[in-house]
């Protein structure tokens, strides 16, 4: 077993006991039950739907629970063209999501405005909300979205939420 692995489990010795760090356990739990907020705004949403249906099956990664309420979701998948008319609504829904929360910008439009260099389209959702993973494509295939999701999972596995909290607490004291 690698010394870097934060989760140590040896069934012969330990039976049903796992030794780990709280951060690692939290990260493992968070990254494998990412409930998406499907922000479907254009054709990318069709690919998002395909990703959650049987052939591509986003539930293999624990992200099949599409929540249509921002209060129950962990990751907002912005799938499609964000017009200026819609932009403040997207921001508002993002603000209603509880921490910790992540954002995937799916497709060219959500990442950069795409082919819409015009008066009506926000040039990338990162002008309003922080984006963790950008998925290229117009629209991206479901595999690309799944790859983005796995990258987000990898990113979450590297977070130190408890350590950070402890440091913040000590600083305030």
């Amino acid at each position: 077993m690698s010394t870097q692995n934060p989760v140590a489990y040896d069934s012969k010795v330990e039976g049903n006991i796992i030794f780990t760090q709280v951060d690692a356990a939290i990260n493992w739990m968070r990254s494998n039950s990412l409930w998406p907020m499907p922000m479907g705004l254009a054709c990318c949403a069709i690919e998002l739907m395909a990703a959650s249906s049987a052939r591509f099956d986003i539930s293999r990664f624990g992200a099949e629970v599409m929540r249509f309420s921002p209060r129950q979701s962990d990751v907002m998948i912005v799938a499609g063209t964000v017009t200026y008319k819609m932009a403040m609504s997207v921001k508002r829904i993002w603000d209603q999501m509880p921490e910790p929360k992540w954002c995937i910008a799916m497709g060219a439009c959500a990442s950069s405005g795409g082919m819409y260099r015009s008066y009506a389209v926000l040039q990338g959702i990162d002008h309003l909300i922080p984006v963790d993973v950008y998925v290229s494509g117009c629209p991206p295939r479901p595999e690309a979205l799944l790859d983005g999701l796995m990258r987000l999972q990898k990113k979450i596995m590297g977070e130190h939420s408890l350590e950070d909290q402890k440091r913040e607490l000590l600083q305030t004291l």
């Binding site: 200026y84 008319k85 932009a87 403040m88 405005g113 819409y116 260099r117 015009s118 008066y119 009506a120 389209v121 040039q123 002008h127």
Partner: protein, 202 residues
Amino acid sequence: MTQSEATLALTTNFGGAILASNDFRSEKTLTVSREALHSICLTARDTLGFDYLVDITSVDHFGDEPRFQICYELYGIEHGVHLRLKISVSEDDAEAPTVSDIWPTADWHEREIFDMMGIRFANHPDLRRILMWDGYPYHPLRKDFPLAGKPSEMPDVAFTNAAPLAGGPFVSLPTDGITQAREPRARSAGDIAPKGQIPLEP
């Protein structure tokens, strides 16, 4: 009812109000005066059987006077004849009579023209913006409105910024030249080759 019968009926009834008549590949266009438009449309629907308004569009001839043109595409489901009516609207008096009392579908078409081109429609039942939000200060389909847009701000409703065009707009040329020549690139109006001339260099 044929196209020529419909045209004849309109010219005999509204002789002075019909300013021009144009035939292009069996598409009939009548340019009519703005004041007579409403009664012409009423006649077209009630006595000539044009019971379907396909579309209303507007054109901005920026720099010309009168500046705007509004086109009405009429169709009769019974007889299958198309007819196009055009009126001219000047910028100083950018107002046209509504036809939404004749064809209810005109309601949203006229709202779109009001939103995008800034032409008002007299007696329209509900003349609000339809695509942009209430309070957006510009009419973005006018020729003097930049493609990139203009910054605007309405707190808690919406904002806009000018889009980075990076030397654009990106235009592809109508050509049967090589792929590189056809590729969309940042071009200005003078770059477009005269008809028949194939640009060799992209």
